[in-house]
Symmetry: C2
Subunit: 374 residues, 2 copies
C-alpha cells in the first residue's frame, strides 16, 4: 500500500513553556531545551530519534531538510543553537501561541504546496523513549498507515492508572492498511483516578502519546471540515506565499486563527482514525516526579549526586544544576518522596505528589513581578 | 545569708562537639561557635548573658576576669577570637575529653586556691534564653543559695513532655537559704514519651538545664566524697600548681581521671541540693528542630529566606549558610516539617522528626574517611 517514493517529514512541537520544570526550565529555556535525563536537550534527543525516518516511507531517511520545528520567536535562536544542522526555513515561528492546530495546519499547508501526499509526523519535543529501535519500528508502521490516507496515531499500552495522560479508546484490529493497527473510537480526556483504573482494567484504552501521522492533504481536508476558520486562514497564508509574502501574512493572520489543540479541534471529531500500539518505554516528562521515575536510583529509590549520605531516606531526587564547579556533599536524613532542584539562582523543594504545582511557583513569581527568576 | 564580698565566677562549658548541627557545625567549629539564632555565636551570647553576675553576689559584676571557659585544644584559638576580652589564663584547656566532672573540678580547685568560698556558676555554652532579665534574677538567687553553702541548680518548669531533656524531681519549698528554692530529691534521666507525660502531669518535675551553682569548697568536698579518684587527681594538680607546674600536671593527670559528667558523678549522689525554678524562655539548642522552634516563622510555620515562595508548604526551616553573596529564590511546594541547611560544601535535608540523626551523617562521613566535610 505504501509508495516507496512517499516523502516523510517530521514536525516537532517545541514552543511549550514547561513551567512545571522550574527552576531548571525558564521562559527562555523551557524543558525541551534541557538535558533533563542527561545527554542532549530533550528536543535534540527527539530529533535524533526521528531523523532516520525523515526521508521516504521505505526507510531511506536521515534527511535534515525534512525536519521542521514549530516554536515561538523567543525560542527560535536557542532552537538554532541546539540544532545547527537545521535550515532556518525549517523553523516555523508562531507569532502568537494559538495551540497546536494552527501551527500543524501551517506546516501541512507548506508541505502541501510542494507535495500534498507527503506524510507529516507530528511529535512532541519533550517525551522520553527508552527503546528507540521499537519506537522507530512503530513509527515506520504509522507512516505506512498515514501514507495510505488514514490519519494515524500511536497509543501506548498503559501500565498504570495514570491521571496525567489522555487515553485513546480502540475497537477491533483493522484489516488495512497495515497489520497491527486498530480502529480508533474516541479520545478520552485526562481521567480521574477511579476512571483511570477502569480504563486500565478494561483493556480497550491506550495512552495518547500526542504523536500524529497523516498526509498533508488529509489533515488539511480534516481541518477544512472541522475547523473551517482555520482552513480559510491557511488558504489566505497560501495565497500570500504564492505572492512571496508568507511571513507577513502569518504575522497578520495567526492572531485571528482559532486557538485550539489538534486533539480537540480535529482528531476528536474524526469519523475514523487508526491507532498503532507502541510499547517502547514511553513517558511524558511532565513533572519532576516523572523525571525521578526515569532517573537512575539507588536501592532505596534515591536519585542524588554521587557520594550522597543516606540515613533512613528513600525515593528522593536531588538535582544540582548549579554551574559553578564546587562539589558539595549531600546528606538525606529521614526524608522521602521529595524533589530538590538547585540552580545558580533558585532552590526548589517539592513533594513528588505535588510536583505539578511547581507551575504555581512561576505564576507567583510573575504575580509579584519577579520575572528574572521565571 | 549572702556576704556582699562573695566573689562570683562563671565557668562556661564550651568543649562539646555538637554534631547534630552538621553541616553548620564542624569538628573545629561546633555549634557554640555559631550564631545559630542570629546575633553572636552562642558562646559569646552565653558570656554576655552571665557577665553582669560575674563579680560579687551583691550584683557588682561584669568582671571579665571572673569568666572562665572550659574547652579543648582544638577550639582554644577560636574561643580567643570570639572572646577577645578574655585573658588566656581564663581558658581552661582539657588535654583529653573526660566529661564535665574533671573540668569542673579543676576549675573549682583553681578557684579554691585563691578563695575557697567563691561561688562558681557552671553553665552550658549552647542554650537559648528568651528573657535575659528573668534569667539574671533567677541566677542571682541561685548564687545567693550557693553562697550559703547549698549546692544549687536551676530547674525549668516544663511546658511539654520533652524526651530530650533530663528532669529534676523536687519536694517542698525550702525555708532557707533563699525564698523560692525547692528541695531537690533526685535527677531523672531523659524519659521516654509516656514517662515524660507522667512527669509533666505530676507537676513535681522540672527540666534539668545543666546549670549548677556552688562554692568552690562545697563542690570539692562533694567530689572528694563521691568521686575520690577525681579528688586525688585534683590534689595532685594543686601540688603541681604550687610548684609552678600546673600545665604539665594537667597534661599528665587528666587522662587518668574518671570520665564522668558532673550530673552522674556528683549531683545525682548528693544527699540534698536546692532547685530554683526559672521560667525565662529556656531551650537547649539540641537539634535543627529546636533551632526551628526558636526561629522567626511565617504564618504557616516556615522559617526561610526573605522572598521565599510558599505553596502548600508548612513548618519548614531553610537555612542558607553559604558565604557567597548570590541571592537565590527559594520555593517550597507541598513540603512540611523539613529542615534544609546549606553551606558552601554541603547540603542537608532532614525531617524535623529525625533531626537528632544528623549526628549519624558525621559518623558516616568519618567512617568513609571523608573528614574534610566533618
Amino acid at each position: 500500500v505504501t509508495s516507496h517514493a512517499t516523502a516523510v517529514y517530521a514536525l516537532i512541537l517545541a514552543g511549550g513553556a514547561g513551567t512545571r520544570f522550574w527552576p531548571a526550565s525558564r521562559a527562555d529555556r523551557p524543558k525541551q531545551f534541557l538535558p533533563l535525563l542527561g545527554g542532549d536537550p530533550l528536543l535534540r534527543e527527539t530529533v535524533k530519534r526521528i531523523l532516520p525516518i525523515c526521508g521516504d516511507a521505505a526507510g531511506a531517511g536521515a534527511r535534515w531538510d525534512r525536519v521542521m520545528i514549530s516554536t515561538n520567536r523567543r525560542l527560535a535562536e536557542r532552537t538554532r543553537v541546539i540544532l545547527p544542522e537545521l535550515a532556518t526555513a525549517n523553523i516555523l515561528i508562531e507569532p502568537v501561541p494559538r495551540g497546536t492546530a494552527p501551527c500543524i495546519g501551517w506546516a501541512a499547508a507548506q508541505l502541501a504546496r510542494r507535495d500534498p501526499e507527503a506524510v507529516l509526523m507530528v511529535l512532541p519535543s519533550d517525551h522520553h523513549v527508552a527503546d528507540v529501535e521499537r519506537f522507530r519500528e512503530t513509527v515506520t508502521r504509522a507512516v505506512a498507515s498515514a501514507a495510505a490516507g488514514v490519519i494515524t496515531t500511536i497509543g501506548i499500552p498503559p501500565t498504570s492508572p495514570e491521571t496525567g495522560y489522555g487515553y485513546l479508546e480502540i475497537d477491533a484490529e483493522m484489516a488495512a492498511p497495515v497489520p497491527g493497527a486498530f480502529a480508533g473510537l474516541r479520545f478520552v480526556e485526562k481521567p480521574d483516578r477511579a476512571r483511570a483504573e477502569e480504563l486500565l482494567a478494561g483493556g480497550r484504552h491506550l495512552w495518547n502519546a500526542g504523536m500524529f501521522f497523516f498526509r498533508a492533504c488529509d489533515i488539511l481536508e480534516a481541518i477544512r471540515v472541522h475547523l473551517p476558520a482555520l482552513g480559510e486562514g491557511l488558504d489566505a497564508i497560501d495565497r500570500a506565499a504564492a505572492a512571496g509574502a508568507e511571513e507577513e501574512a502569518v504575522e497578520r493572520i495567526f492572531p485571528t486563527l482559532p486557538a485550539v489543540s489538534i486533539d480537540c479541534g480535529v482528531m476528536e471529531r474524526l469519523a475514523g482514525f487508526a491507532v498503532i500500539p507502541g510499547d517502547f518505554g514511553w513517558r511524558d516528562l511532565g513533572t519532576w516526579s516523572s523525571a525521578w521515575e526515569l532517573a537512575p536510583k539507588d536501592a532505596l529509590g534515591n536519585s542524588s549526586p554521587k557520594g550522597t549520605i543516606v540515613i533512613g531516606a528513600h525515593d528522593n531526587e536531588v538535582v544540582d544544576l548549579r554551574t559553578g564547579g564546587d562539589r558539595r556533599i549531600v546528606a538525606l536524613v529521614g526524608v522521602h518522596d521529595l524533589v530538590v532542584v538547585e540552580t545558580d539562582d533558585a532552590l526548589l523543594l517539592v513533594t513528588r505528589e505535588q510536583a505539578q504545582d511547581v507551575r504555581d511557583v512561576v505564576a507567583c513569581l510573575k504575580a509579584q513581578g519577579d520575572e528574572r527568576f521565571t
